[in-house]
């Protein structure tokens, strides 16, 4: 019983770590994301949580999206501070300047609404991958 509880707790901890939630991000660290995001402009998805442990610059890279869309990203701290929003296409990265220590969310919305859904209802979703890099 005890062993199974320990295993369960350990698995939970590994899951949290693998998703990067609230893991401290030191200079040079890169954290990846893989999320299903909306193809409708104005619908926001948090693609990655992370913690900035010291003041430093942060960049976001969109590696791929399927169907292909241009993402509009901004970073929001747990205290309500925000970076400006920037459009990022597949295979490109943008710097968001120097961020102060806090926990952040990486918000994605489609730069403009795109039909990712063919003849289906609504614009549908896109499978998007990328990373957040601290330097």
């Amino acid at each position: 019983m005890k062993a199974s509880r320990l295993l369960s707790a350990g698995a939970g901890a590994l899951l949290v770590l693998s998703q990067g939630f609230f893991a401290g991000s030191a200079s040079g660290a890169t954290e990846s994301f893989s999320k299903t995001v909306s193809c409708t402009n104005g619908t926001y998805t948090n693609v990655r949580d992370w913690t900035q442990v010291t003041s430093g610059t942060v960049s976001v890279r969109q590696a791929s999206s399927n169907p292909q869309i241009i993402g509009r990203y901004h970073l929001q701290s747990s205290l309500g501070n925000n970076t400006g929003a920037q459009n990022i296409g597949d295979g490109t990265a943008k710097s968001f300047g120097t961020l102060l220590p806090a926990t952040y969310k990486t918000w994605h919305t489609a730069a403009s609404s795109v039909n990712c859904n063919g003849s289906g209802i609504g614009n549908g979703n896109s499978a998007t991958t990328g990373s957040v890099t601290h330097s």
Binding site: Y44, S55, L75, Q76, S77, S78, L79, G80, N81, N82, T83, G84, F96, G97, T98, L99, L100, P101, A102, T103, W107
Partner: protein, 164 residues
């Protein structure tokens, strides 16, 4: 008919517990207990604060509301410190510390971390470091109004730039 009678109270209960996207907490809500009432009022009256909350999941909203109140206090505390530093030539001996909420949300450790970060800048003895943080375009100074009760007035960053 019987099924409807069973489901109706359930739906009413669910509806009462749901948080609408524009749900605004009461200034006297538990989430604000222990915090500066002026900062609470200013955050609740801030359009930017509402925008911050609007994109969050319901479970994350209270943490953001409380974090923003702590952030407003932090930013104004640091502006006051910067002003004293400029006028006297030395930083004050008493460094600001956060007001502790009665029921800390997950954002509160970030409030504490931020205070410690700013206190480190003050201890450095280099006022330009505090100035840079308060005028950082992604920091609190970019959007927190310098004067309590003046939501459309100059921001903390504006006030720092004006002070020199």
């Amino acid at each position: 008919m019987m099924r409807l009678a069973l489901i109706a109270p359930l739906l009413l209960t669910l509806g009462a517990g749901c948080s609408a996207a524009n749900d605004i907490p009461d200034p006297a809500a538990d989430v604000f207990a222990g915090l500066d009432p002026t900062a609470v009022s200013d955050v609740l009256g801030s359009r930017a604060a509402h925008d911050n909350v609007a994109i969050l999941q319901a479970d994350d909203r209270n943490s953001m509301w409380q974090g923003m109140v702590g952030n407003f206090s932090l930013c104004r505390d640091m502006l006051a410190t910067y002003s004293i530093w400029l006028s006297t030539g030395t930083p004050p001996d008493d460094l600001p510390s956060p007001r502790v909420p009665m029921r800390p949300e997950p954002s509160f450790p970030d409030v504490e971390t931020s205070y410690e970060f700013y206190r480190g800048l003050i201890r450095s003895g280099d006022a330009s470091q505090l100035r840079a943080a308060l005028t950082n375009p992604s920091g609190c100074g970019a959007w927190v109004p310098a004067e309590p009760g003046s939501p459309d007035g100059p921001t903390v960053a504006d006030a720092v730039r004006s002070a020199g």
